[in-house]
């Protein structure tokens, strides 16, 4: 039954079997009071419970009593059956355990018995082995003893063998060298000879060796001769050459001579490169005239390939190429870099390897070769680099077009970058710094070119503006004439032409600004991050502040101001060649520059170039004040020119008339109407560009009433004494007293930047001229009356343009006064009649 149970349990589930076993173990352990550590866990609280059936202190009596007391019958029944079941399972468990233990014990006994047998066999085999080992040791000792003397003999024999082989090498050397010579395996020959040389030297007292040595010498001499020949021929590449030099050096050739030869040979080859470049330049020279006009980006792609070999031979052979074979500068520099600079680097590198950096061997070291060699190298490199630089400079100078700056910058960058290789090879050389100098020079030149380009652009756009101004002016002239007297007509005639003024101004300033920006962008390429020379101190500091800011931007602004001033000054020689509208426009432009544009441009520049000002630079305020000064000058000049135009009309009108014998005035003279019209159109023109400005407060309806008061009372009073011949002093006295009370008028006082001030200036000039002309004439009665009428008419219309109408009053007053004074028969016209005539006009 036990086996049956265990089998069934094992077959059912091995895991549960194990688990069950563990549980059984645990229960047993618990029963015997052994916990996992194998100690008796006596004092566990629950085990003290006498009712715990598994506890050690179980009291059956108590338990039974308890059950009986607590449980019902059915529960007791259940409890009883449960207990029976448990007891049964415990019994079976115990049986199983006992059985297992027994089995294990039996198998252990079997194993121990088997081991005992095996060990005995092993002990016998070990004994046998140790006996064998002893025998081997004995034999070996015996053999080495016998072989001792033979070994020494063999060593000696092998020594003799090597010696013989060396001797054979020596004897064969001449033949071998000859063969090498035939095969041109010079390196092998030299190395062979070197190996033999010291030996031959040592044993040269023996005749046989001496013969060999002599032979060798002769052969080597021949070889050296050939090497020199090869060296001189110079057809070979740099690598061959350096090999050649190395061999010669090993043959104890004098190093200095070799250096010279090497360098002169290298020079001839580099010179060929340079000549190629020069031929390129020369060829480009005559062709530069027509091609300079071409877009530099349209580069001839095939030309360099086809042209370069032919160029170096003779530029005359292919005349067809000359117009198209002009390389752009990038290609030129590229060619220079690839041919000259890389060859130069190669030469430097091989030279240094040969003469400077070689491990110093006994006899060579004493001659101080590296110093001598590097001195030679430096002067060599310097002289060649100078020539190269002069070529590059010439080429750069030919780069005149300002169209595409990136090409130049890239070329310069490449140029500069390749020179860095030289600086790495030759740390102390001045070549890279010279190269940087060239780059700097080119950058400076570039800035100059940009400045002149900007200037010519400015002048061109001024010419455009001038043309634009000239075109509509003609149409105005046509339209303004028929507008007879009505202010509306003339002002609308002015408007046809005038609206283009603000547009012209804005387009002019915008195009200039754009041009400046694009130039700045082009120049900015010089300082781009990926350009190697941009981190040179010049490009960080001076280029930005002195070059771009001062040399380009500030100079340009100054140029603008200066050329504006030039317009004012040169007008004297060239007459009214500058249209007044242009003066006005430029004045506004300069004013705009003063208020905003200059600071904007400079801020833009400073931001783009991160200018750090080590040296004092032109401050914005200085430029602004210069611009303001120019604006002021232009405006003053505008006032003068316009004033003089009107003055001229007035003057002609006064001078060409016979004032003594004129008829009684019926009309306002046409000239006065024309003056008013012109003034109105000037008013419109100025109003387009300048603000209104402030006037002095004047009485509400000042146009008529004031004038009537003035002409009836004051004027009458003024020349009343003239025709009552009392004392001659009175006239002067009166006019002087009058002058005492009126302010002195400064005719050419500076004009302010507003419309009213401008017109005031123009009117002042015109009226003053009128006055002066009147004083030169003699008037009859009706002449005076005509002047009266004209002045009244002017008064009616001109007051509205000026800042202080009293000014107009005063000047007109003076004119009428002077006319009266110069009148043979001063009888003034009735004020009412004057008014009627003027109204009618």
């Amino acid at each position: 039954m036990d086996a049956d149970l265990s089998v069934s349990a094992a077959s059912a589930a091995p895991e549960s079997e194990v688990a069950r076993k563990r549980r059984v173990h645990g229960m047993l352990k618990q029963y015997y009071g052994i916990n996992d550590e194998g100690k008796v866990a006596a004092e566990e609280p629950e085990s003290r419970d006498p009712c715990d059936i598994n506890g050690p202190h179980f009291d059956p009596e108590l338990y039974l009593n308890k059950l009986r007391k607590e449980c019902s019958l059915t529960e007791l029944m259940d409890q009883e059956s449960l207990m029976v079941k448990q007891i049964r399972s415990l019994d079976s468990d115990m049986q199983t355990l006992v059985y297992e233990n027994y089995n294990k014990f039996i198998s252990a006994t079997d194993t121990i018995r088997k081991m005992k047998n095996d060990f005995k066999k092993m002990e016998d085999e070990m004994d046998c082995l140790s006996a064998n080992m002893a025998a081997i040791t004995e034999f070996s000792a015996r053999i080495s003893g016998t072989l001792q003397d033979q070994h020494a003999q063999i060593t000696k024999l092998s020594g003799v063998h090597t010696l013989l082989r060396k001797l054979q090498f020596l004897f064969e050397l001449p033949a071998r060298l000859n063969k090498c010579l035939e095969l041109q395996a010079y390196a092998q020959a030299v190395s062979s000879h070197r190996r033999a040389r010291s030996v031959l030297q040592q044993y040269s007292h023996m005749p046989s060796f001496r013969g060999i040595q002599d032979d060798c010498h002769a052969i080597m001499e021949q070889l050296a001769q050939r090497l020199r020949q090869k060296f001189r021929d110079g057809g070979s590449s740099a690598k061959d050459l350096s090999e050649c030099v190395e061999l010669l050096l090993q043959l104890d050739e004098p190093a200095e001579e070799l250096c010279d030869k090497f360098l002169s040979h290298a020079q001839s080859r580099l010179e060929a490169d340079l000549q190629g470049l020069e031929a390129e330049l020369r060829e480009a020279g005559p062709a530069s005239g027509p091609t300079a006009l071409l877009d530099p980006s349209g580069k001839p792609s095939a030309a360099p390939v086809a042209g370069s070999p032919a160029d170096s031979v003779s530029p005359m052979t292919n005349p067809f190429l000359s117009p198209t074979s002009r390389m752009d500068i990038l290609e030129f520099i590229d060619r220079g870099c690839n041919e000259f600079v890389s060859n130069l680097c190669l030469v430097i590198a091989s030279y240094q390897e040969l003469f400077i950096n070689r491990p110093q061997e006994g006899d060579l070291a004493s001659k101080n070769i590296p110093q001598m060699a590097s001195g030679k190298l430096h002067s060599f490199v310097d002289s060649l680099a100078t020539r190269y630089f002069s070529l590059v400079e010439r080429r750069i100078q030919e780069e005149k077009g300002v169209g595409d700056n990136s090409l130049l910058v890239r070329a310069l960058d490449r140029f500069h970058r390749r020179l860095q290789a030289i600086s790495k090879l030759l740390p102390g050389s001045a070549v890279p710094s010279q190269g940087t100098e060239i780059v700097v020079q080119a950058a400076r030149e570039r800035i100059r070119q940009y400045l002149s380009a900007l200037q010519s652009f400015y002048l061109d756009s001024l010419t455009d503006v001038r043309q634009a101004l000239a075109a509509p002016r003609l149409s105005v002239g046509g339209s303004a004439v028929p507008a007879s007297g009505t202010l509306l007509g003339s002002s609308s005639g002015g408007k046809d032409a005038a609206p283009s003024l603000p547009e012209l101004l804005s387009s002019l300033s915008a195009s200039i600004l754009n041009q400046i920006k694009s130039v700045l962008a082009s120049v900015h390429l010089f300082t781009a991050k990926d350009i190697t020379f941009s981190n040179k101190p010049y490009f960080k500091g001076e280029f930005c502040s002195q070059g771009v800011r001062e040399g380009l931007v500030v100079s340009f602004i100054k140029f603008v101001c200066q050329s504006s001033r030039h317009f004012c000054e040169s007008a004297g020689d060239r007459g009214g060649s500058t249209p007044p509208a242009l003066l006005l426009l430029l004045s506004r432009l300069c004013l705009d520059y003063e208020t905003s544009t200059i600071s904007y441009i400079l801020t833009l520049t400073d931001e783009q170039f991160l200018v750090q000002h080590h040296v004092p630079v032109t401050p914005v305020t200085a430029l602004c004040s210069e611009a303001r000064e120019a604006a002021q000058k232009l405006l003053n000049h505008y006032v003068k020119v316009q004033g003089l135009i009107i003055s001229q009309m007035l003057r002609k009108s006064v001078e060409t008339r016979d004032w003594v014998n004129t008829i009684e005035p019926r009309n306002v003279r046409a000239v006065m109407k024309r003056v008013v019209e012109d003034t109105t159109s000037i008013d419109v023109q100025v109003g387009l560009l300048y603000e209104e400005g402030v006037r002095k407060a004047h009485s509400s309806d000042s146009s008529k009433r004031t004038f009537s008061v003035y002409s009836s009372s004051r004027q009458q009073a003024r020349y009343a004494p003239s025709y009552t011949p009392s004392a001659p002093m009175d006239t002067n006295l009166l006019s002087n007293i009058h002058k005492l009370f009126s302010e002195r008028i400064d005719i050419f006082s500076p004009v302010e930047f507003n419309k009213v001030s401008v017109l005031t200036g123009i009117i002042k000039i015109s009226l003053k001229t009128f006055l002066e002309c009147v004083r030169l004439r003699t008037f009859g009665r009706y002449g005076l009356q005509q002047i009266q009428v004209d002045c009244h008419y002017l008064q009616m219309y001109l007051w509205r343009f000026v800042s202080d109408e009293n000014l107009v009053h005063f000047l007109l007053d003076e004119i009428v006064g002077s006319a009266a004074h110069r009148c043979l028969d001063p009888a003034p016209m009735e004020q009412s009649v004057i008014e009627v005539i003027c109204e009618r006009g």
Binding site: C568, E569, A571, G572, D573, R574, G575, G576, N636, H637, K640, V641, L644, I645, S647, Q648, L650, R651, T656, V660, N661, S722, P725, P728, M729, N732, S735, N736, K739, R744, D746, I747, F748, K768, T769, E772, C773, R775, T778, G780, H821, R822, C823, L824
Partner: protein, 373 residues
């Protein structure tokens, strides 16, 4: 170092004509002619006593008309010419005449102001320069440094060279020329060059300057001035046409600073000193080194002026930067129509404004010493 205050003299009438008494080299004497349509015009002889800053005046009557231009003979102190307006039956014509001052005036010793002002004496007419055919006389010029025998008159568009007889009582036209051109051209001013044996004459009409060769009476150069719109017809005066021209060119820019210049005079001895009178009632003394025949600060040598033409080229190369306004005189209250250097004292000048105010001023002492030393 304070400068002497200007001396001011007032005339009763309006006046435009002013001249220095050319033949007088000892006393500082100016002649002023008045303009009045209604009263008898006068010629005021102004003697300036340099040491005491006192003015002595004498008045002569000039009854024929108002005086527009006046010039004094370089040879005879008492002889002068005037251009004057006459009005007859509502026709105004300008003519010219040669006059002689009464004996007692010519030397300037006549000092009885009460006497003369109360009872002014009249000028003695020597001869008329009869020019009815030629039009209105603009100005009459004496041959500089000559013997007072030759005159040039400018009338409308005619130039005429006159020969005076020994007694100056008869004048005959020896040659004449006409200015031809578009429109109605009129001479406004002229000046006789003292160089080249006095064969050169410079004239101004409107804004053009012309040079004439008096031997052939032909025009030998013409410079259309750029500032054609300037109505003020600056009255040019120069010792020498080329210098005049040159000065003109240079001045065209400066003219903007001298608005409406009516009269320009070079100092006779130091030709970098230029005096201008203008209608803004200012007199401006400027230092035009650029047109000077001698470097600034160099001792003036009057004889050097003879080779002014040759210096001319060198002058161009000189820096005109030192051109500057030395002083502005604002004593006038009306337009200044005439300025004149004194013949006796090269550092003294007079200016005349329309209201009849004559002001005598001096070159600032500091500048004077800088030029001399």
């Amino acid at each position: 170092m304070e400068d002497d205050a200007p001396v001011i003299y007032g005339l009763e009438f309006q006046a435009r004509a002013l001249t220095a008494q050319t033949a007088e080299t000892d006393a500082i004497r100016f002649l002023v002619g008045t303009q009045s349509l209604k009263f008898d015009n006068q010629i005021h002889i102004i003697d300036f006593d340099d040491e005491n800053n006192i003015i002595n005046k004498s008045v002569l009557l000039h009854q024929v008309g108002e005086i527009w231009h006046m010039s004094a003979s370089p040879a005879d102190k008492s002889v002068l010419t005037t251009c004057y307006n006459t009005t007859s039956d509502s026709r105004v014509a300008t003519s010219a005449a040669v006059w002689r001052m009464p004996k007692e005036f010519e030397s300037g010793t006549h000092e009885s102001p009460d006497d003369s002002s109360n009872n002014p004496q009249a000028l003695e007419l020597l001869c008329h320069l009869d020019n009815a055919a030629q039009g209105n006389m603009a100005c009459v010029l004496w041959e500089p440094m000559g013997d007072g025998k030759r005159l040039v008159s400018l009338a409308d568009n005619h130039v005429a060279l006159w020969d005076l007889e020994a007694s100056s009582t008869k004048a005959t036209v020896s040659s004449s020329a006409t200015l031809e051109g578009k429109g109605q051209l009129k001479f406004t001013s002229g000046k006789w060059s003292p160089h080249h044996n006095c064969t050169q004459l410079a004239t101004a009409n409107d804004t053009a300057i012309r040079g004439w060769d008096l031997r052939s009476m032909s025009q030998n150069f013409c410079q259309q001035r750029g500032l054609s719109a300037n109505p003020s017809q600056p009255r040019r005066a120069a010792q020498d046409p080329s210098r005049c021209l040159w000065g003109e060119k240079k001045n065209s820019t400066r003219l903007l600073f001298f608005p409406r210049v009516w009269s320009v005079r070079y100092n006779h001895s130091h030709d970098q000193l230029v005096l201008t009178g203008s209608s803004d009632s200012r007199v401006i003394l400027s230092n035009m080194v650029s047109i000077s025949s001698e470097p600034f600060g160099h001792l003036a040598d009057e004889d050097d002026l003879s080779d002014g033409e040759d210096n001319h080229q060198e002058e161009k190369s000189k820096e005109p930067l030192q051109d500057s306004i030395i002083a502005t005189y604002e004593e006038h209250e009306d337009s200044v129509y005439a300025v004149e250097w004194s013949c006796a004292d090269p550092w003294l000048f007079a200016s005349l404004s329309y209201d009849g105010r004559l002001v005598i001023n001096r070159v600032p002492r500091a500048l004077k010493y800088r030029i001399l030393l």
